[in-house]
Symmetry: C2
Subunit: 765 residues, 2 copies
Amino acid sequence: MEVGKCHKRVDAFDKVTGRAKYTDDMCPKHAYVTRILHSTIAHGRVVSIDTSEAEKIEGVVKVLTCFDVPDRPFPTAGHPWTNVPEHRDIADRKLLNEHVRHYGDEVAAVVAEDYVAADRAIRALKVEYEEYPFVIDPIEAAKEGAPLIHPELQDNNILAHSDIRIGNYQEAIKEPGLIKVEGWYYTPTVQHAHIENHICYAYQEQGGRMTVVTSTQIPHIVRRVVAQALGWSWGKVRIIKPYIGGGFGNKQDALYEPLCAWLSLQVGGHPVKLDVSREETFVNNRVRHAMPCHIISWLRPDGTFAARKFELWSDQGAYASHGHSVAGKALGSFPQLYPCDNIEADAWTVYTNKPTAGAMRAYGMPQATFFDESHVEEIVMKLNLDPIEFRRKNSMPVGYVDGFSKNELYHDSYNDCLDKAMELIDYDRKFELYKNQTGPVRRGIGTSLFWYNTAVWPISIETSSCRMILNQDGSMQLMTGETEIGQGCDTVFAQMAADTVGLKVEDVHVFTNQDTDVTPYGSGAYASRQTYVGGFAIKQTGELLKKKILGHAHTLTRMPVDILDIVKGNIVRKTDNRILMPLGELATRILYDFELSEHMAAESTYSVKSNAYSFGVSIAEVEVDIPLCKVKLLNIVNVHDCGNLINPPLAEAQVHGGMSMGIGFGLYEELLVDKKTGRILNDNLLDYKLCTTMDHPDLMVDFAENPEPTSPFGTKALGEPPACSPAPAIRNAILHATGVAINSLPINPHKLFAAFTEAGLFETL
Amino acid sequence: MEVGKCHKRVDAFDKVTGRAKYTDDMCPKHAYVTRILHSTIAHGRVVSIDTSEAEKIEGVVKVLTCFDVPDRPFPTAGHPWTNVPEHRDIADRKLLNEHVRHYGDEVAAVVAEDYVAADRAIRALKVEYEEYPFVIDPIEAAKEGAPLIHPELQDNNILAHSDIRIGNYQEAIKEPGLIKVEGWYYTPTVQHAHIENHICYAYQEQGGRMTVVTSTQIPHIVRRVVAQALGWSWGKVRIIKPYIGGGFGNKQDALYEPLCAWLSLQVGGHPVKLDVSREETFVNNRVRHAMPCHIISWLRPDGTFAARKFELWSDQGAYASHGHSVAGKALGSFPQLYPCDNIEADAWTVYTNKPTAGAMRAYGMPQATFFDESHVEEIVMKLNLDPIEFRRKNSMPVGYVDGFSKNELYHDSYNDCLDKAMELIDYDRKFELYKNQTGPVRRGIGTSLFWYNTAVWPISIETSSCRMILNQDGSMQLMTGETEIGQGCDTVFAQMAADTVGLKVEDVHVFTNQDTDVTPYGSGAYASRQTYVGGFAIKQTGELLKKKILGHAHTLTRMPVDILDIVKGNIVRKTDNRILMPLGELATRILYDFELSEHMAAESTYSVKSNAYSFGVSIAEVEVDIPLCKVKLLNIVNVHDCGNLINPPLAEAQVHGGMSMGIGFGLYEELLVDKKTGRILNDNLLDYKLCTTMDHPDLMVDFAENPEPTSPFGTKALGEPPACSPAPAIRNAILHATGVAINSLPINPHKLFAAFTEAGLFETL
């Protein structure tokens, strides 16, 4: 078995030696370049743009403004298309916008021979704006009378609202003797900050078809969006995805591909490159939804829930992008993590005059987990309960089934994860040791659970396709529509394919570039779906290929098919394990046989109709320097039940990255908006405090490998889950250390100073 | 029906606007370049190469010589691999050669950062040779005692000999009253002179796999040859073929791909480009086999054949390449064009110290047709018969079946073609008019028939594969392993696919680049096979896709499958021709359906077990200026029976090109060898007299569209046939005009002066 082994990444050598080709490496030398003019107001209308000076600049090929683009709004979210019109993403964005909806909105673009000319032209453009009032707080924006951000679509700014009603909250809270715990929580706007900024280039060929080579997680979806933006039929667009330097959900959106394609069309289909700066990445790509949240829990004295209320406002920013799906997922988290018979939960997604929020690793769940697990910790404090025992008792029980996803908690996953995590971090000893500390520097330890879905069924289709080709030497080409975005899926797919067909991993050659003209349909890298969903397609397709091979093996060896197998690239007779011939010999003999000649390939689609819960826990240990208002993360452990591991070191690497992102979310990161202008104040990696390896201790990781029964390789979501629980664990550790609950992320010195002041902590030192 | 219509080429717009990408357009900017050091002796051994000065030159990355290459001879011919060892191509060439076998042989290579450095380094290399005697005439080379060119393989220079024996020649010639007609004929070495010289670049990626992007007709075969040359398993090599600027058989060989791949390996897998000059194209690629031929025919006074003898020597040059296959094809032509009960025919392929001969358009048949049809004309003259009537009476009769290929002449093709050609050129009037001319300027009209096989079955496998993908808008991707090399196969394949599935041609998007990692197996562009063989694979695969589509159409429309059809991109109910839904709607609904979701694709291999005769005729009208020894071609017509035309203007264009090549073969082209040194004297387009449009009249073309019954679209060979018969038609016209038979091509003024002098023609003026 190759699955479960520590195989070296199939792209390791190419990536460390610089051989691996990214979008910019592939861009033709003669491509034009572009720069975009961004608005300098947060809300208003472009009255005029004087392009005359810009057009005179040598090297400028074309200046295009919001007055030149087609009046054809398009959606951008990286969701598969749906046959149900009311489930489709909202088309609220044009290629360039006359109605400017946030500071930095796109109002014009310059196509030029080089960046010097393009930059000079951008500076030479003269824009006249009519300014409107703007709103940057989602609760304010949701109110009647707020400045309307999309008046052409709706007469308020609430993109969507959804609710969950279980039992009868209003009746349940009347139960005598209940203890009320109430809190307001806030998570900030953060950005993905992947290594490779979004880049794409577009050109026409093949009788005018449009090709866009782009750093995207979702080539097949971007194909559709580009076609929608151009008003073309979808088959006329081709998307090619080379290696990409990270995405984390930002590239689970059509970003500048539609604009780039349209710009190429304006210059006769000549290649046009659109390479985004870090500053534009912060302001003009996507961000994580900031969310204020309000929770009330009513508890019985024995620590069981009687009723719960949850209210969430999701800050969408200027355009719909993924829209309400993110808030919807956060909303759905609430009744499942701590089930209760009486729940009233509401979520609103609200337009604001800010950068657009979209998908980001774990898609609403880091926010939801922070709300849920911060709130639970306050319950524990208020009722003087043990935080671990409370969680063991009240969290989703074994055998729990979600009515919508039909997901089930098959194993005792939470206890398995808690037990491992507690042992690894020496929890019990430290928990006791850190009780009732005094003095300026105090330590604490805190816990957070989380759960996470795998893939998006039944909200959306979960279709994955695969094609395999048997080479003449018995090695294999493997293609899927799923995308390697740095996470290592090419490697785990190679392992899966090797096991299914009976090859060595090194004989599976993965076609890593998705190309919508070539690679079979797959929705792409999101929702931690690829290993799970791709596994179905690989298993099914591999079995088809194996059947063909064994059929030919029967012809060549005269042995009955049912006693034949393929093991490590050899045709083997199972009854005595004799190697009858190498697979390469079979492949060559069959292809060149005068009677049997066949190019052996298999291609199939698997439409997955299941989903799978992933689970896990973070425990964080911190040291808080109260006078300095400084938190030092001493230790942190994540333990995951993501089913069987396909490649343990790759799984661990995924957890490391997610934990680092979770730590940044907890302690450092926030995109700041100037309230007076709506401008982003820290749109660069100097001022935006991205968490680095210097900011955290060695990350402890372990797994509870409970096999997922619905999954062909026993695996389930791991890509996003590690980012869910570190922030609330840290927050709860600080609470444990200091007795001060910080309910707003990031927990930076400013906030600690305010909170410690309010708590009178400085006076007690 | 889209087949049979004048569809614009699918690549027309891209090619005329320069958008179409050729190999050099795709080469990365940072690729190293190479230059090759060619030997300055015709035969000998490299004693030493001093690389020290070359290595000091700035920008030189690596200097490699014949002493550095692996001792692993490999074959280069563009034939599919065969499971039968004795049928495999001869492995007689190393990457660089210590044993130098022709003037220009490769002895060293320089890899450098730019061409200035590479050129300087080549000039700085000091080579010491040990010289051997050399031989450039194939009849001399075949004799005992000739200098041995491949002593490691064989103790003479005869690569192969084959013969045909029908009846009993020696007995048959004893029949009383027979008239003997005997002649020696000679065709020269010519070169393909395609527009784009051979170019390739190679680099490593994917854990060390080797990719070669190359201008080739045969990507899947080159993959195997590169692997053989490197000593690698075949699946580790990937070949990509962009658009190519012509090949005509020269690129039906592994040319410099193996060397380029090996050079890349020597510099750590860095991209290395090998771009061949025109001079190298003439000397170091492939040429058409020069052939001396001897024919004796014994005729009865009524003009029927009693017995015939045929002897052919094929000048192979220094390396085996396609070897004896070419002479074998020429040999096979003889008994089929004019069947006779008693035949003794022999062909020898012989190594000489000259550039290597390989495949060239029509593969031995232009030579064979020149021999056969020149000889027949002499029979006609000697027996005072009518040349047309003799051909109608003695050429392959209707119903003739070849015992080996099982080909049959199903229609009265020769008479159909002759009738059309004679009418077009006003033959009867001119033939009478030009009899018995006197004076310095005389006109004549001459005829030549030919036949040609389609594809190579049963000599080799004839396997073609195809993959189709249904796009979400109802358009389609079409992939085959067959290669667009300028001939227009992408367009005719699109037409075939459109008809099979039921689409408009513009909705078939052809994936034009062959990529051995992606495109299904096909042998490539040679043997005029693609339209015939590719047609089988397209038809079969299209029917598979259509079946899937109609299955889903049944589900969506509830109509029985057997009353459904696809017409011009719509699902149609056949019983009342009602359009039930556009195919795009079906494709989108199915892909995104929660229950049915399927990425619709089909892929299949067709292993063809048939072959098909193509036929045709050329009639040429010339004016010969006897004092100037100058031939002016006044008119020429080709009429072909290539079965049904798929795209008439593309078919006509193929004939135009082939006729031009045939005219050049007849009147102008010859690669000249200096007998003292073995050096090619005219390795450039100034001195090599390539035929251009300035050198010939408007070309008249017509077709006798007799449908080929074995062919899915009724079509058969057309790519090569047009080059077969122009030269003998011109030669026969000159004979008609002057009474002088020129049996050696090209018929240039030097030869005419000698022949007219010998015939005493100048004295009669």
